[in-house]
Amino acid sequence: MLLTPNAMSPGLRFGLYLTTALIALFLILPIVFIVLLSFGSSQWLVFPPPGWTLKWYQQFFSNPEWMAAAFASLKVAVLTTICAVALGLPTAFALVRGRFPGRDLLYGIFTLPMIVPLVIIAVAVYALFLKLGYTGTLFSFVVSHVIVALPFTIISIINSLKLFDQSIEDAAVICGASRLQAIVKVTFPGIRPGMVAGALFAFLVSWDEVVLSVMMASPNLQTLPVKMWTTLRQDLTPVIAVASTLLIGLSVMVMVIAATLRRRNEARSTS
C-alpha cells in the first residue's frame, strides 16, 4: 500500500514521476531524433536541423537500391511470418496437448534461439549455407529469420491455446465434427488472438533483423537494415535516417494493429 501513488508523500511521488519521465525520455529520444533528422536539411545529420526538407525522402524513393532493399525486407518478413505460423501452430499443439516423454525438453529446444546469442546462430547458419551454396538467397534469409522468429510465435500460440477451454473443442467433436474439423472450425477462431500476435511478432523480428541478415546478404539481395548498415560504413547520409524512420514507422503500425485487435477481442469477450 505504501507504494501506491495516492498513499505516497508528495516528495516521493514527484521523485517517482521524474524518474519515470526520464527513463521514458531516454528510451524514446533516439527515435525522436532520428525521425527529426530525416526531415532536416543538413547533409551531416546536424542537430538541431538548420531547416526542413523532404529531399532525403525523395532520394530514398528514387534510388533503386534502397527500394530493392525495402521490398526485399518486406518479402522476407512476409514469408518468415507465413512459415513461422505454419510451423508454430502444429508445434504449439504438440507441446500443449501432447503427452510424450521429452516434451519439456522439446519446448526448451524450440525456445533456445531466444537465449542463444544471435551471432552464434548467425555464424552457424552462415557456415551451413556456405557449404550448401545457399548464401545470398531468399531461402537462406527466410530460414535464418524463421529460426529466431519461431520461439516468439510458438510461445504466443501456446499461451492462447492453454487459455482455450478444450471442452469447447470436445463439444464440437461430440456434435459430429471430426477432431480436425473441430480444430479448424472452433479452436482456430478461439486462439486467433494468439495466432495473430504470433504472426506479428514473427514479422517484427524479421523486419528489423540485422545480425543474421548481414551474414546472409549478397550484393544482389539485402534487406533494409543490411543496406543501412553497409551505407553507414561509407557515408553518413540522412537517407539512413529516412530508412530508419520507415523501419520504425512500419513497426509502430504493426504494434498499433496488434493492440487494436487485442482491445477489440477483450471488448468482445467481456461484453
Partner: protein, 384 residues
C-alpha cells in the same frame, strides 16, 4: 454378463446401453474399476459421487473421449469401443457450457446440423424448434458471452438435442449456477426428459440434484458403483454403510448380534430387522435415519408405552438446533455413542442440553450391516 446389476421390476424395459466390466487405469491407479451397468431406454440415470470417484471418467468413456483399458460398451447390442466420438451420435452438455464463442446462439445450435450437411431449409426449421423449446427465440442472434449462465446452458442443451441423439450425457451441467437458478433448470430438465423421452445420463456430486432429477441413481466411490436404484430405495434401504453415510444423514450404532433378530447395544438388548445367518456375538452395524428416530422426555416416555417392535435407549441431550421446517436434537448415550434425532418443527421438541431423553425407533426402520469399513461411516470418506 452375470456381474451386471439387475434392477427388479425393470426387466420389461429395453436396455439401451450396457457397460460390461469397464476399466480405466492410469498407471497403477484404477479410475474406473470393473463397472457393469445396464441403462434402460428412455431413463434418466444419474452418476452420483464425489470428485475422483470415477463418475466423470465413466461418462467420458461413454462419450468416447477416454478409451477404456478393458471392458465393453454396447449400445443396442453394438460395440462403441472403436467408434470415434463424432460418430457415436451422442449429445453432451458440459459443465462450463462450452459454447462456440465466435458463433451466435443460432449458429451454435445449427453447428451439428451444418457438420452433417443438412439442407438449410430443414436446418432452419429444426433450429427454430430448438430455440422455442429452450425459450431463447429472442436471443438467437446474440453471442454466448452476451447471455447469462442459465441461458448459455439452455443453448448448450439445445445444441446437444438438435440432431436428435439417442443418448444425452450431462457432466455437472448446473454446477456453475446459483442455487435458485439451478432448481429452475432442474425442473425444466425433468419436463424436457418427460416430453422427449430421451435417455439421459447425468453426472453430479449434488445428491439433492440427483434425487430431484433421476429415475435411478448410481453411486460411485473409488471407481466402483456401490449403490444402484431409485433415490427412494437408496435412501430408505441403503445397500451398504457407505451409501447410508453418503446419502443424507445417518446414525450408526455398533451392536453384538444375539440371534437373527436380536442384538445388544452397550449391554442392552435390542430387536433388529430379521437378518439371515447372523452368528451370536458377531459385530453388526445398525443404521437409523435421524427422522426415523424419536426423542422423548422422561415424562413423555412414561405416558407413552413402548410399542412392540420398537427399541429404546437412554441418552442425554447435547444440543438442540432449530432449522426452520425441522429441528434436530443431538444426544449422547451413557457409553458415549452420539446420535441425532430430527423432527418437524410442528411436532415440538421441548428439550434442552443436559436433559435425559429416551430415543426410540422401530426395529424395521433400522438397517443392519454385517460388513463395513470404519471409513464408510465418515461422511467425507470417499471424497478424494
Amino acid at each position: 454378463m452375470s456381474a451386471v446389476i439387475k434392477e427388479a421390476g425393470q426387466q420389461d424395459q429395453k436396455t439401451l446401453v450396457s457397460l460390461c466390466n469397464l476399466n480405466k487405469h492410469y498407471g497403477d491407479f484404477a479410475a474406473v474399476d470393473n463397472i457393469s451397468l445396464d441403462i434402460q431406454d428412455g431413463e434418466f440415470l444419474t452418476f452420483l459421487g464425489s470428485s475422483g470417484s470415477g463418475k466423470s471418467t465413466t461418462l467420458s468413456m461413454l462419450a468416447g473421449f477416454e478409451t477404456p483399458s478393458s471392458g465393453e460398451i454396447l449400445v443396442s447390442g453394438k460395440s462403441l469401443i472403436n467408434v470415434p466420438p463424432h460418430k457415436r451420435d451422442i449429445g453432451m452438455v458440459f459443465q462450463r457450457y462450452s459454447l462456440f464463442p465466435h458463433l451466435s446462439v443460432r449458429d451454435n445450435i445449427a453447428f451439428p446440423l451444418a457438420i452433417r450437411k443438412m439442407p438449410s431449409a430443414e436446418r432452419e426449421k429444426r433450429v427454430d424448434a430448438m430455440l422455442k423449446l429452450v425459450q431463447l427465440e429472442q436471443f438467437a442472434h446474440r453471442r454466448p458471452s452476451q447471455l447469462s449462465g442459465g441461458q448459455q446452458q439452455r443453448v448448450a442443451i439445445a445444441r446437444a438435442l438438435v440432431y436428435e441423439p439417442r443418448i444425452l450425457l450431462m457432466d455437472e451441467p448446473l454446477g456453475a449456477l446459483d442455487k435458485k437458478l439451478r432448481e429452475e433448470l432442474q425442473d425444466e430438465l425433468r419436463q424436457l426428459h418427460r416430453r422427449l423421452g430421451i435417455t439421459i445420463v447425468y453426472v453430479t456430486h449434488d445428491q439433492e440434484e440427483a434425487m430431484r432429477l433421476s429415475q435411478r441413481i448410481a453411486i460411485f466411490s473409488h471407481g466402483k458403483i456401490v449403490g444402484l436404484g431409485t433415490g427412494y430405495d437408496l435412501y430408505q434401504n441403503p445397500p451398504n454403510a457407505f451409501v447410508a453415510s453418503f446419502l443424507g444423514n445417518s446414525n450408526f450404532l455398533k451392536l453384538k448380534a444375539q440371534s437373527n433378530a436380536a442384538a445388544t447395544f452397550e449391554g442392552q438388548p435390542l430387536s433388529i430387522r430379521l437378518t439371515a445367518s447372523l452368528q451370536a456375538g458377531q459385530d453388526v452395524l445398525l443404521m437409523i435415519r435421524p427422522e426415523k428416530a424419536q426423542a422423548l422426555s422422561l415424562e413423555q416416555a412414561a405416558s407413552e408405552p413402548l410399542l412392540s417392535g420398537w427399541n429404546e435407549v437412554t441418552a442425554s441431550v447435547t444440543e438442540v438446533l432449530f432449522l426452520g421446517e425441522s429441528q434436530t436434537c443431538s444426544v449422547v448415550t451413557d457409553s458415549g455413542t452420539a446420535m441425532t434425532v430430527k423432527a418437524l418443527s410442528a411436532t415440538g421438541m421441548p428439550m434442552k442440553p443436559g436433559d435425559k431423553v429416551r430415543v426410540r425407533w422401530a426395529a424395521g426402520d433400522a438397517c443392519v450391516y454385517t460388513e463395513w469399513a470404519e471409513s464408510d461411516l465418515n461422511k467425507v470418506a470417499g471424497a478424494h
